[in-house]
Symmetry: C2
Subunit: 184 residues, 2 copies
């Protein structure tokens, strides 16, 4: 008598993502994952290749969510400047809401394996906007904006801006200056 499948693929990803958000990647063990799913560790290997596979799925789930959020605001503004501003805010909001997943997406050790790479998925939408505007040197502009954005968010998440002032204001202020520097 065949044993019934007790756990669906999506449930695994959901549970794994929850562990990452709550406790960090290093706590995402096969044991912890099996426990929250009410199953024994070896059973997971029927659905997953190994632990790296789990982490990859969590990262891809995060990328999909971030990409979706970026798409949602893409048409919100009519001018390039407004669109870029909205997109930057979306990335920052995602990082502050999901620091564990954000770190995972941009971790070079993982992002190399992601289907739709984390880092490229951050550069690409910005590049698209700049290209749509017929902006000269779109690639280097996109890189400058995304480098600043990723640097700001990861430093903020890491707590590097502990000292002084509103980080909200610092973000908006620097974003203004970056957009001016881009000359969009």
């Amino acid at each position: 008598m065949p044993a019934p499948q007790r756990v669906k693929h999506d449930e695994i990803v959901f549970a794994a993502r929850a562990i990452v958000e709550r406790d960090g990647v290093e706590q995402l063990t096969m044991r912890a994952l099996a426990d929250t799913l009410g199953v024994k560790p070896p059973s997971l290997y029927k659905r997953l290749r190994d632990r790296r596979d789990v982490i990859r799925l969590v990262a891809e789930d995060g990328v999909a969510q971030l990409t979706g959020a970026l798409d949602a605001v893409r048409s919100a503004s009519h001018d390039a400047q407004g669109r870029l501003r909205s997109m930057a805010r979306v990335v920052r909001a995602f990082g502050l809401e999901h620091p564990g997943t954000y770190a995972l997406i941009f971790d070079p050790r993982i992002s190399g394996e992601i289907e739709q790479e984390g880092l490229r998925s951050a550069v690409q939408p910005v590049l698209n906007v700049l290209q749509d505007e017929g902006f000269d040197d779109s690639l280097s502009g996109a890189r400058m904006l995304t480098a600043w954005l990723h640097g700001f968010v990861s430093m903020e998440v890491a707590g590097a801006f502990r000292l002084g002032g509103s980080t909200d204001a610092a973000f908006e202020d620097a974003l203004d200056r970056i957009l001016v520097a881009l000359d969009v």
Copy 2:
């Protein structure tokens, strides 16, 4: 008869740093470290609290090196713009030469424990230069420059700039625009 001390503290840090540079942090195990030192794992606990302690020491060693390199170029230029430019190049060069250590220094999970914090140690020298110049809003300016710089270097190290063009030129170009945006 007391057994002679077979391994010095500095040798441990040196060996650990070498493992990180060559194989990455995850390969820095107590076993691997003991092996390269010609000693058994339990012996390490006479000199170190635990594995986190080893990692902390490696990170601090890297921070000291980076700080030293920053100090060395600080007086190389007479104007603020030249100093900031040199410092940015030094950080980038360090990241490209020591990607494993760079990632460690800026990893929020480790930098929180470092004596002289990695992220702050990157912001501070820039902040000093801007303050020396009597630059208004030095803090937010320092943050903008360091955010862009850290973002650029970590994305470059992660291989996010695979597609197209010289990254050297992209770096210099963006650095120019950032300095203009800062209006130093």
